[in-house]
């Protein structure tokens, strides 16, 4: 039985992989079927993950279950449950989550904006500090490099690579900042510097493009390795 299931698993994965690849030829029923299965399963998967990890794993285990037991003990006069590991703050999240569902009732749908405001506000607060610290302050600090690396006269032996490297870091960062400065029109010397910034951006994008080609090829290699190796056993 297990062996039969293994055969089925291998064939199903190969069938779906080839189905998605078939889009390269043209849109076709095989692709549509694979696409529909992919979309359906992934939506279901995410629902299950979110339910078990967020609702059950966090809220129910951390607060919901305890609250139910506590309520039961209050009404039946039984013993109060142990509060060990209980975090009643989770109720705030649960209530905000519930408010989200009120969108289904048009009359009080406006309440669903509160959790949205909470999410946006909390994330903005966390990110503001993270970005200023990691992406601004540390990066500015790292850009303050000398354009010459040794003392004049006492043997100026900085390699051209060091000087060019320092210049690229400085000019690239500075002109990039100028390009993304929106309070001044791109004219005159400011405009020229901004154009240098675009030049640097395009070189960066080119390098990034190369990296992505490598990444995409890796995904393809992974699937072809599966088809030729795991499925058909043609390669080691």
């Amino acid at each position: 039985m297990e062996a039969a299931f293994e055969h089925f698993r291998l064939w199903l994965a190969a069938f779906l992989t080839l189905g998605i690849f078939s889009f390269l030829y043209k849109d076709n029923p095989w692709y549509k079927l694979s696409e529909a299965i992919f979309v359906g399963i992934s939506a279901g998967y995410w629902f299950v993950v979110l339910f078990w990890d967020n609702f059950f794993g966090k809220f129910w285990v951390g607060a919901g279950d305890y609250t139910m037991q506590w309520l039961a003990s209050v009404f039946t006069g039984g013993e109060s449950p142990s509060a060990e590991g209980v975090d009643l703050m989770l109720w705030i999240g649960a209530i905000l989550g519930f408010l989200m569902l009120l969108r289904l009732i048009p009359k009080i749908g406006w309440l669903s904006r509160w959790p949205l405001a909470f999410i946006v506000g909390a994330t903005a607060g966390l990110w503001l500090i993270n970005y200023i610290a990691s992406n601004v302050m540390v990066q500015v600090q790292a850009t303050m490099v000398p354009l010459f690396s040794t003392v004049f006269g006492a043997g100026f032996d900085a390699g051209s690579g060091v000087i060019i490297g320092g210049l690229v870091i400085f000019l690239g960062t500075f002109s990039g900042l100028v390009y993304f400065f929106f309070s001044k029109a791109h004219t005159g010397a400011f405009g020229t510097t901004a154009r240098v910034g675009v030049f640097f951006l395009m070189i960066t994008f080119g390098a990034s493009f190369g990296y992505t080609v490598m990444s995409r090829m890796s995904l393809l290699i992974g699937r072809i390795d599966y088809l030729l190796g795991d499925w058909l056993g043609m390669i080691k």
């Binding site: 993270n130 610290a133 870091i169 990296y211 990444s215 090829m217 080691k236």
Partner: protein, 335 residues
């Protein structure tokens, strides 16, 4: 014959071909491996045909996009049959991760944050395997976690594979004492933030449901200050950027990272500023890491396919530009 009939015949041919090889595999057929001479011949034929396409383009005969797809497919598949080996130097970024982990004292605690899923496994799984192997070889203690649901599952696959290797199996490593998988925790970057205060507040149990306090390895691990090194495998958000911003810049964690090639350029600035001790970028990073660790396996094997497919892509970029310039000249003549 109609197009539909031709398409059906093609699908049937693929099915028959697959069935033959699949049955062959079940009956014990050996995998195919090209000799060096055949491998070189294949590469030469590929290059010659690309040259021919360039000539055709110069003559004004353009090829369709399906031909490009076919070439890329061949360029990726054929090297998987080849025995050719490829030498590559280890870059300082990769050496940084290797040095950081090998300089740790035996018994040091290493946190591996697996923030990726199966689609990016071809790039990141070889990194995970090599990193885990190095840790076990050097008697480091591993704590695995993930803020991507499938990350800890991928880590388990890597663990399973490495623990089965004879030299590692001989160490008789124990779950809970030598390595632990704390599993997935929902909450994105907020999980990292909370871990700065207390690991236990985020991971009440491990992957299999064992309570945090019953795991000897992590019982005394309160937060990042009890971790000697952290390695993040990331393929997007939340990932290395968030680990740098929170774990490194707020909690002074020593962090190394393995990233997909798509994400690597975004992360490089953190390397030059010293926020990362090292970075493995994409499959080449994985292969270099394997070379540094002297364990050439999946990443190294895949790199040949990478190299050949890159040659094909470069060739088509050239051919495409030739076609573009030619069409520009034509429209100029017409205009």
């Amino acid at each position: 014959m109609t197009t539909k009939a031709k398409e059906l015949i093609a699908v049937a041919a693929i099915l028959i071909f697959s069935l033959i090889f699949y049955l062959g595999k079940t009956f014990g057929w050996e995998p195919t491996e090209f000799s060096t001479a055949v491998s070189l011949l294949v590469v030469i034929l590929l290059l010659a045909s690309l040259l021919w396409i360039l000539v055709l383009t110069l003559q004004g005969k353009l090829i369709g996009r399906r031909v490009v797809f076919l070439y890329v497919g061949i360029a990726v598949a054929m090297p998987l049959f080849m025995k050719l080996s490829q030498e590559m130097p280890v870059s300082p970024a990769v050496q940084g991760v290797y040095d950081a982990v090998t300089e740790l004292e035996p018994g040091s605690k290493v946190l591996i944050a697996c923030d990726y899923d199966p689609p990016t496994a071809p790039e990141l799984q070889p990194m995970a395997e090599t990193f885990i192997r190095i840790c076990f070889q050097r008697d480091l203690k591993i704590i695995i976690m993930g803020i991507w649901p499938q990350g800890p599952q991928q880590a388990n696959l890597a663990l399973e594979k490495i623990l089965a290797e004879p030299d590692i199996a001989a160490k008789n490593l124990q779950y809970g004492i030598d390595y632990v998988n704390l599993g997935f925790q929902a909450g994105n970057e907020f999980v990292i933030q909370r871990m700065g205060g207390s690991f236990k507040s985020m991971f009440r149990t491990d992957y299999g449901g064992i309570p945090y306090d019953e795991l000897p390895l992590v019982r005394n691990v309160k937060n990042f200050s009890n971790i000697d090194y952290c390695f993040n495998l990331s393929s997007g958000f939340p990932g290395t950027v968030e680990w740098v911003q929170i774990a490194v810049d707020r909690y002074d964690v020593e962090l190394g990272a393995g990233n997909t090639a798509v994400q690597a350029p975004t992360v490089y600035p953190y390397l030059s500023s010293g926020q990362l001790t090292g970075l493995l970028g994409g499959m080449s990073g994985a292969a270099e890491f394997e070379r540094a660790a002297d364990a050439r396996v999946k990443g190294t094997k895949y790199m040949l396919s990478q190299s050949v497919s890159h040659i094909v892509v470069i060739a088509f970029v050239l051919i495409g530009n030739v076609a573009f310039i030619m069409s520009g000249r034509k429209s100029a003549l017409k205009g």
